[in-house]
Symmetry: D2
Subunit: 345 residues, 4 copies
């Protein structure tokens, strides 16, 4: 299977290159970057010396089609919405890592992304690629919209409880924390080393563009509209997301009950690991891997459950999940090329 | 004013030494450590070379009384409860930075600290030294119990809203994050560099010993029993605490309304800084200083307020607040020796 | 090929587990720890949840022989020297990651390690496993002593120039820097997070036990005794070593001359990457991989060359190189199970 | 004494504001920034909320003169060279933190800074403000050029030994390491958090613009031309510089001999602290303070001394030393406003 990557010089693109290098059935045949076409990818990424030395291609649907069967889009907001129609027209399968096709409503996209939305016809064709929740629709889909990093950690932590009615959806509060690589490679004061090191920062409270994506799935699971409080924070580290989530428990449920429910819901899903009672995952325990680890605490005093969910934002939150979607799209084993042990310490 | 510090070789003690070095009216006349008595403090802390070179004293109430008028206790749990009676007997004024005298109920102490509580008679004599809330009782008190680091950031962020009934106390959720220095200087796997660096970790969910201290004050403010959900996380940095707090708003209140309320409540209190709308403090913005900075977000969609409160855990969360209490106890200006500009970056 | 790991609960052991998990021809059949035998390895390393859940075995040569053909020793100083005779007796092949068998002289070991040396008969049987320098002797060797982390980065950066007489061996100065994981998992004040974060520290100047190992190989290459100045520093990061090396150039040589020499010396050696002129590798560019990257600067003003060499101390500096040695020992392709792209960023 | 700061929105400027806030005799009356004039300094630096809220002034020599007696220039290369003549003309005393007036030779400036040099007449009037070496000329000087951060750490570590002829100047090798704040506040890929965190990087080998400044002073001390090998590295931390320096010892000298020599040379100089034998300073041990700490190792095997010198690059390497120069310029006690205990941890 020949694969092209558009947006190869961003962190998402370069992580796709890293992971696909050990995929047994997929081969990257074109690394593409509109901004750096014609230069070697090792100029910006010397760690690829001796691994990938070829020049970066420009974005050209016909040329892509000549070289590849599947294309990953790891592009900034607003790029995929324009590219996808041409790529689909050219007969390519697509996995879009950007947010352009995640929301089904163009109005919602415009409201949260402050940009024009993609054509609604194409929005409808995109399958939301969260395999552990929507695995059946991912199977054989030709066009997949890969979930955001925060929504992946958050939804895997909330879906079983919401779906089963074990928590009151109107009480959901999500306190999320991310490493800085989630902000991409663009240099700015907000990602300047001296400003972030030895610092912990809250940002975009109630305003993050991942909010409608989270609510879309929670509403689907609850079968009624759900709005949630969602906060984001920057942690002085490169990789990793933790969502600490709170909700009121419906009925009498212990942490062990939640553990049993989640183990059963994620049965046969190799990338979700449920932790034993009293153990909560830390982000380093999934570093560099495609795992999402989840732990629980139930507080009898307040009647609330606390759910801790962690991922590597560049793997399960981006490139790894995209490859998982590729595997499912092709009918392959979900874990192909993704059986990395987390790099610890 | 002559001052002794018991527990001088812990991070709290050494921070007292740093801050008191520029206090115009207090002089440290005895640095005390039961574990290192007879050695120079520079052996363990070479940064004090040329600043304090004298030998550490042993813990001896009579000797302390001979050298000092006020004693700071920066000791592990269970030490102050035994020392305080002798020190009070000896006629010393006391500021205890440990948790031994914060809770008025011995049973509560035993339940959360898993240790024997101090004698109830002495528990009653300790004044809870959160000056911005209990300033009147701190004034002239001979024995002050200095609040914990998490409670300081949390309570300063919640008290005005709870007191005024602007938030529903039964909905309070506190998601707290701390730098690693809060764990002290004792080496363990839990504070081992390679385990914490590039890692974000949740711990002691619903079990932290600061919970009853927070609830004690919130209940006092609400004039009814309050229980709260409280989570703690370790951030890969040395100093700084952020409490991100959530609650349902009672009535129609904007972020600006909260800002106005808090500015009015903290009027004349130099160490609390309320941020303008849309701005949330980060921990580095108070690094090394005695400030507590607070920002707000109100979400009309969910009817909740998010309150972000930050401190330096070793200053406003420990040694700085202890000196602020000393100043008030002595009838001095609250800011003496504490007018540090945060060290940024 | 069945493989056992003694010392599985140290960072070297757990990195062997990570890397061997994707080795196509080797299978870990016994994870061994004398200190934690009988417990699950996931107790100390939750990141292995679902990957390796079995109980840790105790150290028992007969039992190891029953389960494995090759044994990796990732043990503290002084352990391998006692174990190796029994394991060789039992007919096992051995790759020792500790320093016990690197120095051929028992006196030198005693002097630098402050411990009793291994039996000289066994010292003689150990092959020093630096494949890019001593590849021929590694081939088919039944007992390999894996080089230290600092020596690996340093020697790969110096050997070609010393061997060819391009630098004056009496002028060699090595300024080495390491991430903290090199100190292992044992908690101490020296590896305490708050002491190392936002700190850069020099240690063991002229005293590091890796000095005789470096000088042994340099002397071999120069065909005369070489002593070198060697300094070590702790960098506030987990993984990575950089050796910055200085020496006077013999004859007229440009940086490009050095590049050409090294490219030619390391021809066919996939894990050494020589950087183009004006580019010096940083540690993150080899993070998680088995690469050693080397760059050069020649200063006409001073007549000195500066050589920068980087590795991941846990991979090329320990577990990765050990697996490379396994591959060579077995006559396999050197890169089996080691074709990781560095994890960047 | 009224003081103005030009370049108030850079890290050097904002550190001047921090330190001068507790200076007993100097008062900052104008904070100036050409790029941000008319806005509040708290917009870019919220940590100054409630401390300095006034608007930033534009650069106007007459207006500065109306408000201040002394002006600090904390400006990028090439700015001071144009401003200084006007400011001197206006009768202002000047302390320039930039590199524009450090080198006496315009050609050398052009060669290393790749910019036009300042007018030679003004170059001659600037006094090089390294008080521990050139204290006499600093006294009463109206125009001081503040040394660079690397030169400060390096020269304080080398001057006594070079001056006394204890080391061979032709053998000097300087391996320097800096925290990232030395690169200033301008955002770029080179200071992007995800690129620097968990990374150690060499840069500008033999090319750093501080080389001629170091050689100028060493040549002065040796009374003959000295060229030195000088390497710079970026450490994943915000503040701190360590220079590890190597040279061949002339004659028989022990580490203790060096300690005695340096103690004697720096007698009466409060900001240089010489460490006892076997102890080398780490950067955190001077964090936030104006100290330069120095330690020694002498290796009989190689005949070399290793000198370790550390400073906080923003304090002794910039703003602190500038204030020390102000104190000396005004005939005040050298330590006024600078008696900070290092912030540890």
């Amino acid at each position: 299977m020949k694969v092209a990557i558009v947006g190869s010089t961003g962190y998402g693109g370069v992580e796709l290159i890293r992971l696909l290098a050990s995929h047994p059935l997929a081969e990257v045949t074109s690394v593409i970057s509109s901004s750096s076409a014609g230069t070697s990818i090792t100029e910006g990424y010397p760690h690829l010396t001796g691994i990938r030395e070829e020049l970066l291609d420009d974005v050209d649907p016909a040329a892509i089609k000549a070289k590849a069967d599947v294309v990953f889009l790891a592009t900034p907001p607003g790029v995929a919405s324009k590219l996808v129609p041409q790529l689909l027209e050219a007969g390519l399968k697509i996995i879009d890592l950007s947010g352009d096709f995640r929301l089904k409503s163009p109005d919602l996209y415009k409201e949260w992304y402050k940009k024009e939305a993609a054509d609604e016809a194409y929005l409808k064709r995109a399958v939301f690629g969260l395999p552990e929740v929507y695995g059946d629709s991912v199977q054989d889909a030709p066009f997949i919209s890969n979930p955001g990093c925060y929504p992946t950690a958050t939804l895997l932590g909330l879906v079983p409880a919401v779906k089963e009615g074990w928590i009151d959806p109107s009480t959901i509060i999500i306190d999320a924390k991310s490493g800085v690589s989630g902000a991409g490679r663009g240099a700015s004061l907000g990602t300047h080393y001296s400003e972030l090191n030895e610092n912990f920062r809250a940002y975009k409270l109630n305003q993050h563009q991942h909010i409608p994506e989270i609510e879309m799935v929670l509403s689907d699971m609850a079968a009624r509209p759900v709005v949630a409080t969602f906060s984001t924070h920057l942690v002085p580290m490169t990789r990793g997301i933790m969502s600490t989530m709170y909700a009121s428990v419906q009925g009498e449920r212990s942490a062990q009950d939640f553990i049993d429910l989640y183990k059963s819901y994620y049965e046969g899903r190799p990338f979700v690991r449920i932790r034993p009672e009293g153990q909560w995952p830390s982000t380093k325990e999934v570093w560099g891997s495609n795992y999402c680890d989840i732990g629980f605490a139930v507080d009898k005093r307040t009647g609330r459950v606390t759910i801790v969910s962690v991922i590597d934002n560049l793997v399960k939150g981006a490139a790894g999940q995209a490859i998982q979607n590729l595997n499912l799209m092709m009918g392959w084993d979900e874990t192909l090329g993704l059986q990395f042990v987390p790099a610890y310490p």
